[in-house]
């Protein structure tokens, strides 16, 4: 193997070994210290991040990408599956970012979960999740990707249901698993199609062998998989419900890493989608619908974590729109910048929640700018990055996406929805900042609130640097495959900024109105629509279990019991026999003596005939 390629694979192997080392310690050494896991896991992730900068710097220097196939898993006459790692632009850029964000979240979790008796298990779960995510990201074949895919799904279930004594947490964990399973049907469909049509699960071979095939069916399967994993409209309710888990779980899984796995899959397989207009249009429309719907739902939520969860879902919709525009690199750029500021928003909310003794309702927060200045500043920076403020991280990806959308001659409806969603993003971001950081406190002032712990401040500062500089660093080191359209009317160029500023001003006016003695109640129907999440959970979470249970009831009672007992079995026999006997009953009149004489006469006649 050439020496440079050797460095890539060696560094990944070293990273994986360092990350798996705490798991091995747990299995074989069984350490006796009470809180051994937080420190060891955090050090492992930090070291892995520093090691991952080696392939990153090599890539930035020379642009070298590697695909490695090593150990053969399975060789049949038609299908070969090997252990394959792909170090292309996407995985080399994503791994350091994921490790950096995970390092910050783990350090924060050392403070947040310090009173939890099972803190070791918590950190081990997060580590297993991280390893599964890295497997997913570096996979070069569908089988390995599927291993990572299922791994992150299972760890999501275990971590959402961390406080398993809570009914809502168990329900939310089940919801996550079931919705993801529906998406997995799509992924397995695509894998089966690959096996049947091209006899390979290798991604490189898939690109080459499917050039002349009609790819609509497998692409629909992949889009279904992405809909499930990345909470697009239709399979989205699990994401806000997943906020039942502890805040570090929400920050790591449900904002930065796991939920982008579906989009990452579509990005990896974007060469398959380039020529299929159906798939691209489906992505565009689904993404536009998702981004507007979830942004609308976020407008009237009062739980700070739910607002940020819907914000995540909205940004995932935006990434799907980008894929629908045939711009996978921009979608990837948005994944990376989004990881920074969304994780930071969740950590800020976690800091606020913990300071206020588990209070998550923004109606009972306020004035935190004076009490927790670093947290509120980071909240502001994160929200500004989210809305696409010029030259922060989100701007470089979000603005590029909106410019591409504006100048493409595709669906104007999708464009309108996305722009409205962009203004809604500004509205709910300002709502969070207004009610959390501004004004006077609306909570009991007895709890001593402070930020004197470096385990809180350092992760926030690190992610703040990432939110400010990350976008610029990424865009400077990216060679875009598709030429961006740089000439457009000034109105279109400034459209995203205008829409966001209008949203911010509207939101500020509306927020100021809440403190005035004006009418107390808003318009009922729109408010109820957004608060009940578009009535989607109320309808679908009742209808589909009821239909399944009804079908089960009918199958057991009518199809099985009734059929075997009444239609085929003993009761059918008895009914038939009763009918036959009752119809043939009338023939017999009960005239015994007449029958006997007739019988005797016929017998004599027969004997006479026989003897003659």
């Amino acid at each position: 193997m050439p020496p440079m390629a050797l460095i890539y694979t060696s560094s990944l192997l070293l990273m994986l070994t360092i990350l798996i080392y705490p798991l091995i310690m747990l299995l074989f050494c069984n350490p006796q210290e009470k809180n051994w896991a937080p420190l060891h896991v955090k050090m492992a992730v930090k070291t892995a991040f520093l090691i991952s900068t080696v392939p990153l710097s090599l890539f930035l220097n020379s642009g070298m990408q590697t695909t490695t196939s090593s150990w053969t898993w399975m060789v049949t006459t038609t299908l070969d599956v090997t252990l394959g790692f792909k170090f292309d632009y996407y995985s080399i850029m994503f791994i350091p970012i994921a490790l950096y964000v995970t390092w910050s979240i783990l350090e924060f979790a050392m403070w947040y979960m310090h009173s939890d008796p099972n803190i070791n298990r918590f950190f081990i779960y997060l580590l297993v999740f991280l390893v599964a995510m890295l497997i997913l990201v570096t996979a070069n074949n569908f089988f390995q990707l599927f291993i990572g895919w299922e791994g992150v799904g299972i760890m999501s279930f275990l971590l959402i249901g961390w406080w398993y004594g809570r009914t809502d947490a168990n329900t939310a964990a089940l919801q996550a698993v079931i919705y993801n399973r529906v998406g997995d049907i799509g992924l397995i469909l695509s894998m089966a199609w690959m096996t049947a049509n091209i006899s390979s699960w290798d991604i490189q071979q898939a690109f080459i062998l499917t050039k002349n095939l009609d790819m609509t069916l497998p692409l629909l399967g992949l889009i279904l998989a992405a809909t499930g994993k990345s909470a697009q409209f239709g399979l989205h309710p699990w994401l806000p419900a997943a906020m039942e888990g502890p805040t570090p779980v929400s920050a790591l899984l449900h904002s930065s890493t796991m939920v982008v796995a579906g989009i990452f899959l579509l990005i990896r397989l974007s060469p398959l989608m380039e020529n299929n207009q159906t798939a691209l249009t489906l992505c565009l429309c689904l993404g536009a619908l998702t981004t507007l719907f979830t942004a609308t739902c976020a407008l009237t939520q009062n739980d700070i974590k739910k607002i940020i969860a819907f914000s995540t879902s909205s940004q995932l919709g935006l990434m799907m729109v980008t894929i629908g525009l045939n711009q996978p690199q921009l979608a990837f750029l948005h994944i990376c910048t989004h990881a920074f500021f969304k994780a930071m928003l969740f950590l800020c909310s976690g800091s606020v929640i913990h300071s206020l003794n588990d209070e998550q309702d923004i109606r009972k927060m306020g004035g935190l700018h004076h009490l927790t200045p670093v947290t509120s500043s980071c909240l502001t920076i994160g929200s500004l990055a989210l809305t696409g403020t010029p030259f922060l991280a989100g701007f470089f990806s979000k603005d590029a996406i909106l410019e591409a959308l504006n100048t493409s001659h595709l669906n104007a409806w999708a464009l309108t929805l996305t722009l409205i969603a962009t203004s809604f993003t500004a509205i709910y971001s300002l709502r969070v900042i207004y009610f959390v950081t501004m004004g006077i406190p609306r909570f009991s002032s007895l709890t001593p609130i402070n930020e004197n712990n470096s385990a809180v401040i350092n992760p926030l500062k690190r992610l703040a640097w990432g939110s400010i500089l990350g976008g610029m660093l990424l865009i400077l080191n990216t060679d875009l495959n598709k030429t961006p359209i740089l000439t457009m009317p000034t109105e279109l160029k400034l459209m995203a900024l205008t829409v966001s500023i209008m949203g911010l001003l509207t939101a500020f006016e509306l927020a100021k109105m809440t403190s005035k003695q004006m009418k107390m109640l808003p318009l009922k129907l729109p408010h109820h629509f957004t608060t009940t999440l578009g009535f989607f959970p109320s309808i679908f979470h009742r209808i589909s279990p009821q239909l399944s249970l009804l079908m089960g009831y009918h199958i057991t009672t009518r199809t099985v019991d009734q059929t075997w007992m009444e239609k085929i079995g003993p009761q059918m026999l008895s009914n038939t026999m009763t009918q036959i006997s009752s119809s043939s009953n009338d023939i017999q009149q009960g005239l015994i003596k007449t029958y006997l004489i007739l019988f005797l006469l016929t017998l004599i006649l027969v004997v006479m005939v026989l003897t003659i």
Partner: protein, 174 residues
């Protein structure tokens, strides 16, 4: 005690839940105080009504008005049922009978506690029959009407089912 609420109880419950929902709608305290005073005025106007039929019709109208104007996401305290940290620590509440299953080496790490525990267990055996007798004597024939347990009635007796109360896990185990 029958399972019915008196008129006063119903009115007070309506008043309290209306106030809580006004608090959910009016985020700022001064605005809430204004609308809370208006609500109090409305309740005080009908306070001296002596005609029960009319009073019941007013209560019914009030309940309907509450239903149409309620907040879809009312503020629920974190530790209340439906709140964000309700039952969060249930998974850490371990029943006390697990202490019997500790390994002797683990029990020897806390000799004072386990020796005291033996004393308490003997006390429990002695008082059990008396507790059962007291409960059988005091329970009405149709079954108990409330969940509240009676106190000890005689000198030297312990309250019935005291063991479960004394050995219950802490509210916040961690």
């Amino acid at each position: 005690m029958a399972g019915y609420l008196s008129h006063q109880q119903k009115v007070l419950r309506l008043y309290k839940k209306s106030l809580r929902h006004i608090e959910s709608w009016c985020i700022f305290r001064d605005k809430y105080r204004f609308y809370a005073c208006l609500l109090r005025q409305r309740f005080d106007e009908g306070r001296e009504e002596k005609d029960m039929v009319k009073a019941t019709m007013m209560l019914k109208a009030g309940e309907e008005e509450f239903w149409t104007n309620q907040h879809p996401q009312p503020y629920i305290f974190p530790d209340s049922p439906g709140g964000t940290s309700y039952e969060r620590y249930e998974c850490y509440k371990v029943p006390e009978w697990l202490l019997e299953h500790w390994h002797p080496s683990e029990k020897n790490q806390y000799p004072d506690y386990f020796s005291k525990r033996e004393t308490w267990k003997k006390l429990r055996e002695q008082s059990w029959d008396k507790e059962v007798a007291q409960l059988q004597a005091e329970t009405p024939p149709g079954g108990p009407l409330t969940e509240a347990l009676p106190p000890a009635r005689q000198e030297g007796h312990l309250p019935p089912l005291w063991w479960h109360e004394v050995t219950r896990p802490r509210e916040r185990p961690t």
